[in-house]
C-alpha cells in the first residue's frame, strides 16, 4: 500500500540559509499529524513545500505516489509546468494563520470560487456544495456575509470550509488559531476535531499543545530544520525522549 504523503530528504534554502535540512516523513490515509516546534524550526515551511507555496531545492514530496512540483529527467531536476502544479495544489487544502478570505466576496462566494474555476462545477452545484460545507462549520446563516462582517473565528471556519469543499486528499493547517482572540480559538478547534473524526487526513502546524495531544494520531517535533522527535502524542508529551523536546514542552506550557 502506498502512503498518502511521502516526504524524502526535503531540503529548503532561503538564499544561503538552510531552513529544512533533510526531512523525511511518511503519512497514511486518515492520519492526523501535529507538527510542533519553536518558531523558526521549519514547521510552516515544510507545510508550504507540500503545496508548492515554497520552492524546495532538494528531496521529493509525493502525494498518492504523485511527485509534487518537480520532475527529474536525464538527471536534471525541473519545476513542473504551472498548470500541472496548480492541479497538484488542489490535491491538498490549506488553512492559513491569517485566514486569507477574499474580502470582496461573500462567505458562500469564497467557497464557490475554486469549485467553479478549478472543479468546473456549475454555479448551482457549487452553491449547493458551498452551503453544505458552510453548514458543517456552523455558518450557513452567514453565507451572504462578507469576511469583514465576520469574527476572526467565523472567518477561519469559512476558510476551512473553502479548503475542504475542494475535496482534498490532505488538509494542511498552518497555525490556524494563532491570530485569534483566545475566546475564539475553541470554535475553530472543534471544527478541525470534527473533520478528524470524519477520517480526514490532516497535517496540523500548531502551538495549541493540548489540542495536538487530544486530536493527533502522531506528533512531529521539528527542531532546527530537522525532525527532532516523533511518536504518538502520549509518549511525546508525557515521556519526551530528547532534551530538546522536554525543554520545548516546558516553555510551551503543556501540563
Amino acid at each position: 500500500m502506498t502512503s498518502l504523503l511521502e516526504i524524502r530528504d526535503l531540503h529548503k534554502r532561503y538564499g544561503t540559509v538552510e531552513v529544512l535540512k533533510g526531512v523525511d516523513c511518511s503519512m497514511r490515509q486518515g492520519e492526523v499529524i501535529s507538527i510542533i516546534g519553536s518558531s523558526g524550526s521549519g514547521k510552516t515551511t515544510m507545510l508550504r513545500c507540500i503545496n508548492m507555496l515554497e520552492e524546495f531545492q532538494g528531496g521529493t514530496i509525493a502525494i498518492d505516489g504523485q511527485e509534487i512540483g518537480y520532475e527529474t529527467a536525464d538527471g536534471v531536476r525541473r519545476r513542473k509546468p504551472e498548470r500541472e502544479i496548480a492541479r497538484q495544489r488542489a490535491l491538498t487544502g490549506m488553512a492559513f494563520q491569517q485566514f486569507n478570505l477574499f474580502p470582496h466576496m461573500t462567505a458562500a462566494a469564497n467557497v464557490m470560487l475554486g469549485l467553479v474555476k478549478v472543479k468546473k462545477m456549475s454555479r448551482d452545484e457549487a452553491r449547493a456544495l458551498a452551503e453544505k460545507w458552510l453548514d458543517r462549520v456552523g455558518l450557513l446563516s452567514r453565507k451572504d456575509h462578507y469576511p469583514g462582517q465576520l469574527s476572526g473565528g467565523q472567518q477561519q471556519r469559512v476558510a476551512i470550509a473553502r479548503a475542504i469543499a475542494m475535496n482534498p486528499k490532505l488538509m494542511l493547517f498552518d497555525e490556524v488559531t494563532s491570530a485569534l482572540d483566545p475566546e475564539l480559538v475553541n470554535e475553530v478547534l472543534q471544527v478541525i476535531k470534527a473533520l478528524a473524526e470524519d477520517g480526514m487526513s490532516m497535517l496540523i502546524v500548531t502551538h495549541e499543545m493540548r489540542f495536538a495531544y487530544e486530536v493527533s494520531s502522531r506528533v512531529i517535533f521539528m527542531n532546527q530544520g530537522r525532525i527532532g522527535e516523533e511518536g504518538n502524542p502520549r509518549e511525546m508529551f508525557l515521556k519526551p525522549k530528547t532534551e530538546r523536546l522536554a525543554e520545548f514542552l516546558k516553555t510551551s506550557a503543556f501540563n
Partner: protein
C-alpha cells in the same frame, strides 16, 4: 475702459461648443480605455519578479511620464510622419493620450497591486487556481477597489488633457472656444462658458466615480 458682458454671440455658437465637448469626451473615453489596458499590463510588468518585464515597463513609464504631454502630442503629429507613420489628427491625438494615460495609470495600478496582501494570492494558489485566474478573480478586483479614489482624479486630469488637442487643430472644446473667441471677440464670455463646460463635465465624472466607489465598497 469698461467691458460689458454680452453672452449673445457665445450662445449663438453654443452648438459648436457642445460638439467640441462631445469630441473631447469621445477622445478621452477611447484614449483612457486603451490607457487602462496599457496601464494594467504595464503595472503587472512593474511588479513582476522578472527583470525582462520590469525593466521595459519602468522605461516606458519613465520616458512618457517625464515628457510634457504637449511635446508628445506635437511629436506624434509632426515628427512621426517624418518617420513614416502617418496618422490623422484625431488618431494621432488618441494614440498619444492613450500612451500617456497608460504610463500614469500604470503607476496608479501599481500602487493598488502592492497593497493587495500576498496571502490573497497564496489562498488562490492553495485552492488550485492558476496565476491568471488569481489575477482576474482576486487581484484585479481588489486592486481596483484600492485605486478608485486616485483613479477618479487621474481620469479627470486626463480628460482635461484633451484640451491640448487644440494645438494640432482637433476640433474639440478648447479649439472651438478659441475659434469663437477669434470670430466674436467676446473673450471673457467665451472662456467663461468653455470653463463652465469643463467644470460641469469633470464634476459629473467625479460624481460617477464616487458612485462606482460606493457600489464596489466591500461591506464590513
Amino acid at each position: 475702459m469698461t467691458y460689458s458682458l454680452n453672452f449673445a454671440a457665445v450662445w449663438r455658437s453654443f452648438d459648436l461648443l457642445l460638439q467640441g465637448l462631445a469630441l473631447s469626451l469621445g477622445l478621452a473615453v477611447v484614449a483612457i480605455l486603451a490607457g487602462c489596458v496599457i496601464g494594467l499590463i504595464t503595472a503587472f510588468g512593474l511588479v513582476s519578479k522578472s527583470v525582462l518585464l520590469r525593466k521595459p515597463a519602468g522605461l516606458y513609464v519613465t520616458i512618457i511620464r517625464n515628457t510634457p504631454i504637449l511635446v508628445l502630442v506635437l511629436f506624434s503629429y509632426f515628427a512621426l510622419p517624418e518617420l513614416g507613420v502617418r496618422l490623422g489628427k484625431i488618431e494621432s491625438f488618441v494614440l498619444t493620450l492613450a500612451i500617456y494615460s497608460g504610463a500614469y495609470l500604470a503607476e496608479v495600478f501599481r500602487g493598488g497591486l502592492i497593497a493587495v496582501p500576498p496571502g490573497q494570492r497564496e489562498a488562490g494558489l492553495a485552492i488550485g487556481l492558476t496565476e491568471m485566474q488569481i489575477r482576474t478573480s482576486i487581484i484585479i478586483p481588489l486592486m481596483l477597489r484600492n485605486v478608485l479614489p486616485s483613479l477618479g482624479s487621474t481620469m479627470i486630469s486626463l480628460f482635461k488633457d484633451t484640451s491640448l488637442a487644440a494645438a494640432i487643430a482637433v476640433p474639440e472644446l478648447t479649439f472651438e472656444a478659441r475659434k469663437i473667441n477669434v470670430e466674436t471677440f467676446r473673450v471673457i464670455e467665451t472662456w467663461i462658458v468653455a470653463s463652465c463646460l469643463y467644470v460641469a463635465t469633470c464634476s459629473l465624472l467625479a460624481a460617477l466615480m464616487r458612485a462606482v466607489e460606493r457600489r464596489l465598497a466591500v461591506p464590513r
